[in-house]
């Protein structure tokens, strides 16, 4: 159980306070309700490039990191298809520094040309390091546009291509800031060795004067239901063949999400999972095999992946993956097996309460989903899933005409 209080400033900034006096530290986590799905199709990778620019100085503070490190703090951020999340941890005695820094960059950035110039280069190196210079590193650049034809999830957070990043202009940066970075589009969680009164006072002092800005109303093209099998085979400089099968699945807020996520656990979580046991250990068809979900806010992706062992053809590998999911469609999961993955989910939730930063990030994310308190009811929803529901969802999900198959063949 993660307890919290919530208040909203006049400018629309939502603030959640989680008091935890077992630590001498404090966390300030700010989630901006903007991700790569909000980008212009001709300027992809922008939300993530922008995250880098948020560290390039704000209107009154030329250097973001220095003053924070000076008071013993650390920070980082990440961008996903849905959100951009910034966080600071620092000794609680110095918490005002976090309010000062974060409020100034919510007020306005410095918009320096030099910063844009350098961060463009840094992000291009990131593109190379993580996507182009790694075996299989380009998988999401290839697979996303197969699964999504209309929805902006069709590009990865890094962007469709390097040119989009190279062409970013300072006017675009300003416009993006104005559109998305204001109190109405943000959720702030302050956690740790703090009090509600203290946070109210600091929030009012530092964030209260920031203009509300314009509300961004999201109106994205939704992805139509897939009705044909999609596939692509590429020969690449990779050491082993690799099979990816992606299926469109329910979004994060849908009730079906819970059954679908448990299905991925049944298939591949831990050494007792079906695919590991049957395909890696018993039949020895794969050296590794995975099933996982992208819990996106809009329509998500369920992914099956495996690297076949030497002598196993990709056709055999594909057939073996389908045979495993076929079983979920035809036979109800035994009660014990379902209880097992539910127990694992429950203990994972309890273990995550050991980390202050995890709690703060979770509160912000669930507030975005609709209510931070949903975090405390999440386990119940997983525990309520029945074998019949799993079978029903498996039948909806695992259809050839809902699949996109990407095969890597080793050169």
């Amino acid at each position: 159980m993660v307890k919290f209080n919530r208040f909203i400033l006049d400018n629309g900034l939502r603030v959640i306070v989680h008091e935890d006096n077992t630590t001498p530290m404090a966390v300030v986590n700010i989630l901006y309700d903007v991700g790569s799905r909000d980008e212009n199709p001709e300027q992809t990778g922008f939300a993530h490039l922008f995250e880098h620019l948020m560290f390039g100085g704000s209107v009154n503070i030329p250097n973001y990191d220095g003053p924070l490190q000076q008071v013993g703090g650390e920070n980082n951020a990440f961008t996903s298809n849905d959100i951009t999340n910034y966080y600071i941890t620092l000794p609680s005695a110095n918490i005002e520094t976090a309010f000062w820094l974060e409020s100034d960059r919510m007020l306005s950035l410095a918009f320096s040309e030099e910063s844009l110039e350098v961060q463009r280069k840094v992000v291009i190196e990131e593109f190379k390091q993580r996507y182009l210079n790694q075996p299989y590193g380009d998988v999401w650049l290839r697979l996303r546009p197969m699964v999504y034809k209309k929805h902006p999830y069709l590009w990865d957070t890094i962007g469709k291509n390097i040119e989009h990043i190279e062409n970013a202009k300072i006017e675009d940066v300003k416009a993006f800031f104005k559109k998305h970075y204001n109190p109405q589009n943000a959720i702030m969680v302050v956690g740790g060795d703090v009090t509600l009164e203290q946070v109210k006072e600091l929030a009012q002092k530092w964030f209260g004067p920031i203009p509300a800005g314009e509300k961004y109303y999201r109106n994205l093209p939704q992805e139509p239901e897939q009705r044909e099998e999609r596939r692509e085979t590429i020969t690449a400089k990779v050491p082993l063949n690799d099979v990816y099968i992606a299926l469109q699945m329910a979004g994060r807020r849908e009730q079906q999400f819970y059954a679908v996520e448990l299905m991925s656990d049944i298939l591949s979580r831990g050494n007792s999972s079906r695919m590991y046991r049957n395909l890696v250990k018993d039949k020895q068809l794969f050296s590794e095999v995975h099933a996982y979900v992208f819990g996106s806010l809009d329509k998500g992706m369920f992914v099956l992946e495996g690297k076949p062992t030497a002598g196993v053809t990709v056709e055999q590998a594909e057939a073996a993956l389908w045979a495993e999911v076929e079983l979920l469609k035809t036979e109800e999961v035994p009660a014990d097996e379902l209880t097992k993955v539910q127990n694992k989910t429950e203990s994972t939730m309890i273990f995550s309460e050991m980390s202050l930063l995890d709690k703060a990030m979770n509160l912000a994310y669930y507030e975005l989903l609709g209510d931070a308190d949903l975090l405390n009811y999440e386990t119940e929803k997983f525990l309520a899933v029945t074998p019949a529901q799993i079978k029903e969802e498996a039948n909806k999900l695992f259809r050839k005409d809902n699949s996109s198959t990407l095969i890597y063949l080793a050169e």
């Binding site: 630590t23 001498p24 530290m25 503070i61 220095g66 003053p67 490190q69 000076q70 013993g72 650390e74 920070n75 620092l90 000794p91 005695a93 110095n94 005002e96 309010f99 409020s103 100034d104 007020l107 110039e117 350098v118 280069k121 840094v122 291009i124 190196e125 990131e126 190379k128 390091q129 210079n133 790694q134 075996p135 299989y136 009012q204 209260g208 400089k237 990779v238 050491p239 082993l240 050494n271 007792s272 046991r277 890696v280 250990k281 590794e288 062992t309 030497a310 014990d336 209880t339 097992k340 127990n343 694992k344 429950e346 203990s347 309890i350 273990f351 309460e353 050991m354 980390s355 202050l356």
Partner: protein, 429 residues
């Protein structure tokens, strides 16, 4: 509410970081010689238990024995198959992992306290009855060989392997597996290794979480009895590192978009009196986001997504190293900048403002690293296996607060000589 304008240009007042309190464990010894350290704190009804074993003396002809024996502990016992082990652990929502390190091998259990009576016997079985089934060994070898093929296509992995080999030679720190090294693994050797290494007198148990007496009693009853030492104690000595004469290694990858750079030098370890001070030096150089290497090579030049330096401390010495992946076209330029930054530490005093920032950053980072009871146990582990006591952290905080720029300049000259660095480039140069 007042309408007074706030001053956004001036940083708020802040305080020095004081009172870093480390939890210390309660210690007991089981009848069979196994040491138990207990950290009792926290509100969640869960524990983490680690069984830590020193690795056996390294044999270059059978270089994979320590790691393979550890990794295969969950692959079957005289009474449980690999599948049954996984089932039992997973059913109770527990997590069981094995981790091989250069010096110690671990078995770690995360479990809800209420299920310890079900999960502890599984670990006991693993530590006393593992049989390394032949079929599982074959699967292990095949899968590891496939994973290695993928790893060997990553420039940073190749750079790390090449660097370690140069610094440590044919020792446990330096010798990495090639594909056919896996063919040296035989079941009989694993069994012999297992019996020698996984004995109570070579085991340290660390339990952390909300640990109440019944849990401790259960732990003592499970691991204090029915687990005996063999006739000979474990040989946990390690041969000394034999460094290579060659200091420069270039592994060319004609199609690389980026080059991995790894360079560094043999270095003092945690036991050495200068260790806390050189950690300050390392932090200035490349130990945090605002470090000189990051500022210069990422934030100023944009050559890389990330660059950092670090110090590894082993019983048999250690290393200070710098690692990065940079655009292939700027690889030479990046090494020139690295050299500049090393030499700057030797020729110019670190400015007061920068040093003050690094001091506070390091203290805040230490405080922040004590997030929960598990982190306190981790700190203890670092000390205990380096053979040093808690006074280390008193000395550490004292040095971080007080070391002078003059002392750091002297240490830089004493310990850093770029010309003597081992340098590895994988990609294009």
């Amino acid at each position: 509410m007042t309408n007074k304008m706030i001053d956004r240009k001036t940083a708020p007042a802040y305080g020095a970081i004081e009172n870093i309190n480390l939890l210390k464990p309660a210690q007991t010894k089981l009848n069979n010689g196994c040491d138990v350290f207990c950290f009792n704190s926290g509100d969640q009804e869960l524990v983490r238990i680690e069984w830590i074993f020193n690795n056996l003396r390294f044999d270059p002809a059978k270089s994979l024995l320590n790691s393979a024996t550890n990794t295969m502990l969950t692959d079957g016992t005289a009474t449980l198959t690999a599948a049954e082990i996984a089932d039992k652990i997973d059913f109770y929502g527990a997590f069981l992992s094995v981790d091989y390190g250069f010096e110690q091998s671990l078995v770690t259990l995360y479990s809800l306290t209420k299920h310890l009576d079900k999960t502890l016997p599984v670990v006991k079985d693993i530590l006393t009855n593992s049989i390394f089934p032949q079929k599982e060994l074959e699967t292990f070898i095949r899968n590891q060989q496939q994973k290695l093929q993928v790893s060997l296509q990553k420039n940073d992995v190749v750079a790390r392997r090449t660097f370690n080999k140069a610094l440590y030679g044919d020792t446990i720190y330096g010798l990495t597996a090639e594909l056919d090294t896996y063919n040296t693994l035989h079941r009989d050797d694993l069994l012999t290794h297992f019996k020698q290494m996984y004995q109570p007198s070579n085991c340290t148990i660390i339990i952390a979480g909300k640990v109440e007496q019944p849990a401790l009693d259960l732990l003592a009853a499970t691991f204090g009895e029915g687990w005996d030492n063999p006739a000979t104690p474990a040989d946990i000595t390690q041969p000394e590192a034999n460094r290579a004469g060659e200091h420069f290694y270039y592994v060319e990858k004609p199609e690389a978009l980026q080059s991995a750079i790894r360079m560094g030098t043999p270095f003092i370890n945690r036991e050495h009196p200068d260790f806390p001070a050189v950690q300050v030096l390392n932090t200035v150089l490349g130990g945090y986001f605002g470090s000189r290497l990051m500022n210069n090579i990422r934030e100023d030049k944009g050559y890389t997504y990330g660059i950092g330096s670090g110090i590894t401390s082993y019983k048999q010495g250690g290393a200070l190293f710098i690692a990065t992946e940079v655009g292939a076209d700027v690889c030479k330029a990046a090494t020139v900048e690295i050299e500049k930054e090393i030499n700057l530490l030797k020729t110019e005093l670190i400015p007061g403002e920068e040093l003050s920032l690094v001091r506070n950053y390091m203290l805040g980072s230490l405080l922040g690293s004590l997030e929960n009871v598990f982190s306190h146990a981790d700190k203890f582990k670092n000390l205990y296996f380096s053979g040093i006591g808690y006074e280390y952290y008193d000395r550490y905080t004292n040095v971080v607060k007080n070391v002078t720029a003059e002392e750091l300049l002297k240490l830089a000259n004493q310990y850093l000589d770029f010309d003597e660095f081992y340098k590895v480039i994988v990609g294009k140069y």
